[in-house]
Structures are given as structure tokens and as C-alpha cells.
């Protein structure tokens, strides 16, 4: 399995968002979750989106993850305009381009870790033996090769989240989208999960992580702050080509 995303044109951004608006409800009771967001994420970047609850970061993540569509604005994912795709096409884009890591893990209960990791490949119609090989490779990347036959409720929270990361990267997606990946974890488990994300970033994967904690965001190469549906700050911590800033320390911690 390739450990790097497929090589594309270097200048083409993975995400290009222009004047993105999202309005929930209509007229009087309308809620403006996004009020014109502009964002560009290059291949190999590791971006933390910071913001308090209600700042619109979850809405942005849903739109970037093709789980929702914007009210207006343009969104290019890997050069494809996905703003106005229908549901079936969005499902296809999700399967091919995006790997999700959720705060609450979202593993399917009563399915083994391996089966959970294989799930996206199953929907892609891949053959069983090939699927297993790729899933085992992904599990070895997150250090869970010995836990593949366990059910999600038989492993710890940190291990569940690492299973979820393995599921996210098994299809070699263009983008890994992590929504508060450490929100339900204790400090030690958080460190494990962040170490895995750091390592994936060091291998060249593109990661967007949503968080409201600054010490978590400190793992990213770039920090974006959101307030009231707008991007207020955009700080590059380390260069795009450099390894993630806390890679060394997280390795030391684990």
C-alpha cells in the first residue's frame, strides 16, 4: 500500500474554498453558520482549525467533508467543484477523497476492528483478500495489528480512535479530516492518537484537525482561528515541507 498520497500537480491545492456561506433555516429564524470563509490548503499540510463552539468550525468541517453542501460559495476538493454535487456523487467523493476521524470514534459495534477498517474498501467493491491486506497495512501504521480481531468495545478509547484513523487512511484519501479527535480521550490516549497523526503528517499526508484546545492545535503546522463564521487568524507555525512541530516530542512521549 502506498504510504504517500498519489503525486498530483504541486500547485493544485487539496482544498480551495471561496466566499463560503452556510445558512440554516430561513428568513427570520435563519442562522448564519458561515459568513464568507476563504481557505486554501496545500498538499501535505497539517492544519488545525481552532474556535469556540458556535464559531462555525463544525459546519466548515461538514462541508469540507462533503457531508453537507454550502448555501453559497465555491468549494474545490482536489480540483473538483463539489459545491453542487448530488447525494450519490458526494458519497463517491467521500469514499475516494476523504477519511474521517470523529470525536466519538464512530466505529460500528459488533464488527471486528479489521471489519471496521475494511468497510470503506468494501463499499469501493475491492476483493476480499486485497481488502484484508490493505486493512492490515493500515492497522500496522497505527500500531494495532494485534488487535484486529477485537470488537470496538473490547479495546480502550485510544485504541478505538486509532482504529478509526486506520479506517480513515485505508483508502489512501487525499485528505484526512479529524473532528476533535482527542475530545473523548484522556491525556495518555490523546498523546498516542496525536503521535499517530504527527507521523502520518510526516509521511506527507494532508490532515485537517478541528479542535478547541491550543495544546492540541500546537501539533499542527498551521493554525486557523475561527470566530462567528469567519476566519480571523491564519498562522503558519512551520514550513509546509517541514515535519510537524511536535513530532520529536510526541515520539519521545510514546
Amino acid at each position: 500500500m502506498p504510504t504517500r498520497p498519489a503525486e498530483g500537480p504541486v500547485d493544485r491545492p487539496v482544498i480551495s474554498v471561496r466566499e463560503l456561506h452556510k445558512v440554516y433555516g430561513t428568513s427570520d429564524v435563519a442562522v448564519h453558520a458561515l459568513r464568507g470563509v476563504d481557505l486554501e490548503v496545500q498538499r501535505g499540510d497539517y492544519v488545525a482549525v481552532l474556535g469556540a463552539s458556535g464559531s462555525g468550525k463544525t459546519t466548515l468541517m461538514n462541508i469540507i467533508g462533503c457531508l453537507d453542501v454550502p448555501t453559497s460559495g465555491r468549494y474545490l476538493l482536489d480540483g473538483i467543484d463539489v459545491s453542487f454535487l448530488d447525494e450519490a456523487q458526494l458519497a463517491l467523493v467521500r469514499r475516494r477523497k476523504i477519511g474521517f476521524v470523529f470525536q466519538s470514534f464512530n466505529l460500528i459495534p459488533r464488527m471486528t476492528g479489521l471489519a471496521n477498517v475494511e468497510l470503506p474498501l468494501a463499499y469501493a467493491g475491492m476483493r476480499g483478500d486485497q481488502r484484508r491486506r490493505r486493512a492490515m497495512a493500515a492497522l500496522s501504521l497505527v500500531g494495532l495489528i494485534d488487535w484486529s480481531s477485537f470488537m470496538p468495545n473490547q479495546v480502550s478509547g485510544g485504541q478505538q480512535q486509532r482504529l478509526a484513523i486506520a479506517r480513515a487512511l485505508v483508502t489512501s484519501p487525499t485528505l484526512i479530516l479529524a473532528d476533535e479527535p482527542t475530545g473523548n480521550l484522556d491525556t495518555a490516549a490523546s498523546a498516542d492518537v496525536l503521535a499517530v497523526l504527527d507521523r502520518l503528517s510526516a509521511e506527507g499526508r494532508t490532515i485537517i484537525m478541528i479542535t478547541h484546545e491550543h495544546d492540541i492545535a500546537a501539533h499542527a503546522k498551521r493554525q486557523i482561528h475561527m470566530v462567528d463564521g469567519r476566519v480571523t487568524e491564519d498562522n503558519r507555525v512551520v514550513d509546509l515541507a517541514a515535519p510537524p512541530p511536535l513530532l520529536a516530542s510526541s515520539l519521545a512521549a510514546s
Partner: protein
Amino acid sequence: MKFAEILRFAFHGLSANKLRSALTTLGILIGVGAVILLVAVGNGSSRQIQANIENLGTNTLTVFSGGFGRQASSASGTQSQSTALTLQNAEGLANKASAPDVYSVSPVTSTSATTTYEGSSTTATITGTYPSYFRASNSPVEDGSYFTATDVNKAYDVVDIGATVAQDLFGTNAAAVGKSISIDGSPFEVLGVLKSKGTTGITDANAIAIAPYTSVQDVLTGYGSLSEILVQATSAQTTNAADSEITAILDKELGVTSSTGAATVAARSSGFGSRSSSSQPFEVLNQSQLLSTSTSTSHTFTVLLGAVAAISLLVGGIGITNIMLVTVTERTREIGIRKAVGAPKSAILGQFLAESVLLSVFGGVLGIVAGFIGSMFTIVGVKPVIVPDSIVLAVGVSVLIGLFFGSYPANRAASMRPIEALRYE
């Protein structure tokens, strides 16, 4: 997304809730089993009735005097001669010129009597008649011989007994032949034992004894009118022709006017195969008409049984919808996860449809097995006969039930928006 993959997910979903799946399957099992079994019971009873009527002979006509049931008392001779059948009437029917389609005519006088042999006794219907009765009533002798026309002419006290009488008095058929039994105190020599017949209802068709007409009159029934006249037509096809011929002869002999004759036609069209008008001095029971009437009656009966069973199948189907709705609600989050990792709408739809179809097909197959097992037993005196069509129908219907009753919940699952499904607690 391969079909096998969808089936695998569906199996997985069902096995996660084994008790629930089993109970839902049970609903379909009962429905399908009931349809197959009840239709088999209806079919079996219809076959049984047909077989019994055919046992009597489909080419026979029975002529009764007066209304049904009244001729039984004619043995005592109290009924007036004008409305009772006589031996002369029977001889009149045996006229080849005016009744070419009549093969044989057997006058019958009958009564119930106690038969005894060395201390054992049993009650039997004693029929006094001519030798042609054996063939007309489809009562062949299994052991021994028939009585003959000579026995009738000389009024010999000989008898052919039914299987039940032979069993009750002698234990075996062979032991009975040649012995002398006592019928209401008079000795009769057993010439033969009749072949056992199938029995419907409460009367035992084998608790009979057939003796010469003359000797039965001599010792048991007296010289009154006949109980009935059994007429055998030349073939099943000529039964209706023979019916009109003997009706014409008897109308003339008994002085029936044409107006009452017309009334009998109306009565016949009511579907009973016999003249039921009480003003009529005689009635003709036509076996072939009785057969078609009872066939259509038992068909209605079968359809009715099937319809009742189909209701339980419908209830089972609603059970599937119910349980699938619960399943979909319960697994909303799972649906959201599957959608987030890229499951298209069709895959979700397929998975839940496959689950409901698996439930119903599994129930259907078990229902067929249950129906088969159930049909091994005799139910309310009927040996069920499985109708092959009902199995094909049951399988087809159970697949359709799964698709139909599962489509609403499956569609609901497939149309869920991933973000809302993921947010569901």
C-alpha cells in the same frame, strides 16, 4: 459494492439481534406454514370426499321414495303404497327398451340389526338386494364369494358381510367364510367378506351385511315397500341420460303430472343433484352431480382456509415492517457512519432490504418445512394433501413480503442525511 457483500452485511445485522430476528421469522413461519397446511387440509378433505363418492360409483343413481329420511320407516309398511317404491317399480326400470342407458337395477330393503356369533355381537346395516348391487355400489368381495340370483329366488339365508362385522365377530376375514352367524336371531351363512372401504363421518361404511332381497324380507323387514332402488348406468357419461329415463318411467308409473315434473328441474338447478320437492313421491340422487357439487363446495372451503391463513401471513409481514423500523432507528448512527465512509444510498437500501427479505425467506422456508411436518398428521379426520402450487406461491409471496414490507424502512434508512444520522444519539 457486490451483492455478496450486501448479503454479508445483512446477515451480520440480523445475527446481531438473534432473538428479535427469530421472533420476526416465526411470524412468517406461522403464516407460510398455515397457508400450506390449511390448503393441504382443504385439498385432502376434498380428495377424501371425492374418493368416497367415487367409491359409491359415479355412474349410479339412487331412487328414494318421498322425502329424505322417510323411506327408513317404509320397512314397517306403514307408509301408503302410492308414495312408496315397490319391486314393480324396480322391474319397470330394468326395461331395456324404455331405459337403454340403465345397466342394472337393484332394489334395496335395509334395516339395522344385531349380528352375533358365539357370544360376540355387533350392530350392522343389513341390506337386502340383488347380486347386481355389489357392482353398482362398488362393494367387491375380498374373501369368499358373492350370493347369486339363485340365492335370491330361493330366499336362501346367506350373507356377505363387511370388514368391520368380520373383524368384530371373527377377528379375521378368512375365519368368517362358511360360518353361520345370527342376524336378529335368524341364522345366515357367511358366503364372503367385502373389501374394506374408506369411511367418512360417523357412519362406518364397513359395518354392513348384504343378503338376498327375498331372505331379508322374509326374516327382517317384512313385505313392505323398498328402501331405495340403486340404478347403475352403462357408463359415467350416460348417468344423466339414465337419470332422465328413470325419472320419465317413474313419473308415468307413479302418476306425476308434468307441472310437478317441471318443479323438480328447478329444484335440481339449486345444486343438490336430487329432487328435493316434498310433493314428489320419489327422489333420484345422482352421484356425478353430487360429486361436482361437493367438489365445488370443498374448493370454496379450501379457498376460505387459505384466505384465513393468508391473513396470518399479512400479520407476519407487518411484523417485519415493525421490526425493521425499530432496527433502522436503532442503527441510525451506524447508517451515518456507513454513509460517511462512502456508502452510496443504494448500498444502504440494499442492506436493509436484504435483511427483511432474508427474514421473510428464512421464515418462508421454515414455514414450508413446518407445513410438511404438519401434513404428516391426520387433522380433524382429514389426511392433508400438499398442493405443490401452494409451496411455490408461499416462497414467492414470502420474497415479495420481504421486499414490500421492508421497502419502507429500508428507504427511510437510505434517505437519511449523514450529518443528522451521525449526530443521532
